[in-house]
Symmetry: C2
Subunit: 389 residues, 2 copies
C-alpha cells in the first residue's frame, strides 16, 4: 500500500505532487488553486488545532486574495477517520458544487479528503469506492495544508478509512488520487503536544521499516536511503524531546516523514510487509482512541521477531540494527527500539494500550478478515500479537 510493488527488476515510480515547503508556504495555496481554474472549494479539517496554529486563517487569507470561494466546510474530522464523516462531506461537496478540496490538517483529514474526492463522483456509497471496477475515474482535485507530519498522505495516492460499526479499517491506493499541491509549513508543528510529535515520528519510522522488510539485501540504494531516513528520525526525535519548538528539527522530521511513504523509500522493495499496519488497523478499529503511532510502536518489535525467524528476514534486520543503531543482531536492534520509545514516553506493550490477552483471537480475526500478509494464518498473527503483550 502507498508504494510501488516493484523490485530491482521491475518498478514504476510516479509522483506528480507539487510540494511547497517552509515558512509561510500556506500563503501560496490560493494562487495554486486559482491558477488551475478552481473558484469554489470545500475545506476539510479536524478540530481546534487548525484554528490555533494559524493554518486555517492563513489558508482563508490566501483564498480570499485569489478570489477563491469557500462553499462549504467539513469540520471535526477525527483521528482514525470514519466513513460517516466522509459521507457528510460528499453531500456537502455535491450540494455546493465544490470544484476542489482544500484539506487543512494531518493524515486523517487528508485521507478523508481523498475518499471524498472520489466519492463525490461515485454512483454509490463512498465506503465501496475501493471495490469499484474500473476504479472511479473522476475526482475532485485535492490541495493540502499539512499540520502534522506522520502519514505522508500529503504526497501519496493512498488513504485509510474505517467503519466503526463494522470494526473495519481499510487502506486504498487509487492510481491518480494524489494531491495536486501540498503546503508543508513546519512552524505549524512547533506547538504540537509531545505525544503527537512522537506518534508522527514513530509512524514515519514504521513506514520505512515496513518497506525495508521487503528487501532481500540486494537493494543497496534503497536500504542505504531507508537507514538514512531512520537515523534522521531517531536523531531528530531525540532532539525534539529536548527542544520541541526547534523549527529545523521539525522541518527535518517533516521531510523525512513525507519521504517515508511517497514512493521513494519503498522503491524496489516489493511493496514491503505492512503486517504492523494491518494489526494496528485492527486495534484502532476496535478502539478508535488508540493512536496510530502508539499501536505501531508497540507492535514493531514483535513483528520483527516474527519476520526474522519465520520468513527469513534475519539478515535484513541484522543489517538494520547495525546501520541504524550500531548494534549487533536484530534482537539488539529491537532493544534499541524499545529503549528509544521508553525514553520518549511512548507505550511499549499492548497492556499499556488498554488491550487484554483475551482479545488476541478477535484482533487476529479482524486482521485476517482484511487479508493476512506473508501467507500467515490467524494463528500466526495471534502469535505476533501475543509477543507484543
Amino acid at each position: 500500500m502507498f508504494a510501488p510493488n516493484g523490485s530491482l527488476t521491475g518498478s514504476i515510480f510516479y509522483n506528480p505532487v507539487k510540494l511547497i515547503f517552509g515558512k509561510d508556504s500556506t500563503s501560496k495555496i490560493g494562487e495554486e488553486i486559482a491558477s488551475r481554474g478552481f473558484k469554489r472549494v470545500i475545506i476539510t479539517m479536524g478540530g481546534a488545532s487548525a484554528l490555533k496554529n494559524g493554518s486555517y486563517q492563513q489558508s482563508i487569507d490566501s483564498l480570499k486574495a485569489n478570489n477563491v470561494e469557500v462553499v462549504a466546510e467539513l469540520r471535526d474530522i477525527r483521528a482514525n477517520p470514519e466513513v460517516n464523516k466522509v459521507r457528510e462531506g460528499v453531500k456537502l461537496a455535491r450540494e455546493n458544487q465544490a470544484e476542489a478540496i482544500l484539506a487543512i490538517g494531518g493524515g486523517s483529514v487528508i485521507d478523508s479528503s481523498k475518499a471524498l474526492s472520489l466519492g463525490a463522483f461515485f454512483d454509490g456509497d463512498v465506503w465501496d469506492v475501493p471495490r469499484a471496477t474500473p476504479p472511479v475515474s473522476k475526482r475532485l482535485p485535492i490541495f493540502t495544508v499539512l499540520t502534522i507530519s506522520a502519514t505522508a498522505s500529503e504526497m501519496n495516492n493512498g488513504y485509510v478509512l474505517q467503519d466503526d460499526e463494522k470494526q473495519l479499517k481499510v487502506a486504498y491506493m487509487h492510481p491518480d488520487n494524489f494531491p495536486t499541491v501540498s503546503c508543508i509549513d513546519p512552524s505549524f508543528q512547533t506547538g504540537l503536544p509531545w505525544f503527537q510529535t512522537v506518534n508522527g515520528v514513530v509512524d514515519a519510522m514504521v513506514h520505512t521499516l515496513e518497506l525495508y522488510a521487503g528487501a532481500d539485501g540486494s537493494e543497496e540504494t534503497a536500504l542505504q536511503l531507508d537507514e538514512g531516513l531512520l537515523r534522521s528520525l531517531v536523531n531528530c526525535g531525540h532532539g525534539l524531546q529536548k527542544d520541541p519548538e526547534n523549527y529545523n528539527l521539525r522541518a527535518n522530521v517533516a521531510w523525512a516523514a513525507t519521504l517515508a511513504l511517497n514512493g521513494y523509500s519503498g522503491f524496489s522493495l516489493r511493496g514491503g510487509s505492512w503486517l504492523v499496519h494491518m494489526i494496528e488497523h485492527a486495534l484502532s478499529a476496535i478502539d478508535p482512541a488508540v493512536a496510530h503511532g502508539a499501536g505501531l510502536g508497540v507492535l514493531m518489535p514483535a513483528v520483527i521477531e516474527y519476520l526474522a525467524t519465520k520468513i527469513g528476514k534475519k539478515e535484513v534486520y541484522d543489517r538494520w540494527a547495525k546501520n541504524v543503531y550500531g548494534v549487533d543482531g536484530y534482537k539488539a536492534g529491537m532493544e534499541a527500539w524499545v529503549k528509544d520509545l521508553k525514553t520518549w514516553g511512548h507505550p511499549t506493550t499492548m497492556g499499556e494500550l488498554g488491550f487484554k490477552k483475551e482479545q488476541i483471537p478477535h484482533i487476529a480475526k479482524l486482521v485476517c478478515d482484511v487479508g493476512c500478509p506473508h501467507g500467515f494464518t490467524p494463528e500466526d498473527v495471534a502469535a505476533v500479537i501475543e509477543l507484543a503483550f
Copy 2:
C-alpha cells in the same frame, strides 16, 4: 542547477517524471507515447552502443506495435554534446512535423533532446533558448530510454550544451522541461566499458557532493540521505569492478544516479555549490575528449579543500568523511576519495587529463565568464585548479 534552490525555510519540490524501471521496461515506451496521442516521433541517439545493447531495436519494436511512426532520426550525438547537432535536430523535427522526441542514450542524448524540445518552437537560434524571456513556453514532449546512468537527465529539467567554437559550455534549467516518461533498463548497462561505468558513478557522487556542499549542518534528513547515496555508489562501484555484469549492482547505481540529481538529494540544500561542475565544464569546453566524470573526479578533492578552508564548510566535509568513509576529518575523506579513484583506474590529476599548468589562467577565465560561484575571483578559481595538478 537541476535542484531546488531552497532551504529548510523555503523549498519547492516538483518532479512529474514517470519512471519505468527494470528489465524490458523499454517494451512499454510505445504505449506510453501512443496513449498520450502522439503518432510521429523523432529519435535521438548517440553512436553504435544503442544498436549493440538492444535498446534501439526494443524501442523500434515497441513503437511499431503501437503504430507510432519514426519520422526522423538524429544520430551520432557525442559526449559533451554540441549545439550544431541540436540545430540539425531542430531542422529535422520541424521538416518532419515530429510530435514528440524519443531519446535513446545517456545524458548527452537526453540533454540534446531537451534543447531540441524547446528549440523546435523557439523563434531564434537554439543556443539562445536559455536567455529567452519569458522562457520558451511550447515544447516537444520528451520520452527517454536510458542506456548509461550518470547525469539523471532522465528525471530532471536541466540540460548542458556546449559551443565548441566559443569554448562555452552552459547549463540551463527550464521549469517544465522534464521528460514525460523515462525507461531505465539496467541490463543495457551490464556491457558498458569500465571507464564509462566509473565516470557515471563518479558523476553521480559529485552531483550528490555538490548539493551536500550547500548544507550548514542543520539539514539532518537531506544529509543522511545524501550520505546513504554516496555509500551506495561507493559500495556498488567496488562491486561492479569485480562483477561488471551484475544486474543488481547496475540497478542500484542506476537508481542512485537518478536520485542524485532529480531534486531529492538537493532538497533544502540551497542549490548546492556546483564549483566542480563549473570548472569541469571549462575543461571539456577546451577539450571535448575529456570525459565529464573524469574531470569531476580529479577536481573534487581540490574543491573540498577550498570550500572547507575558504567558505566555512569544514564541519560539513568532516561529517561527510566520517559518515561516508568512517574516517576523521575532511582531509582523510579526500584521501579516501583519491584511493577509491585510483583503485578504479580513474585519473586523479589534471596532468593525467592532459592539461598543463600554463592553461590555469585560461581555464579560470572560462569559468568566470560563465559565472564564478561563492563570490570567487578568477584567482580563487585558479588556486582551486592548481590544487588539482
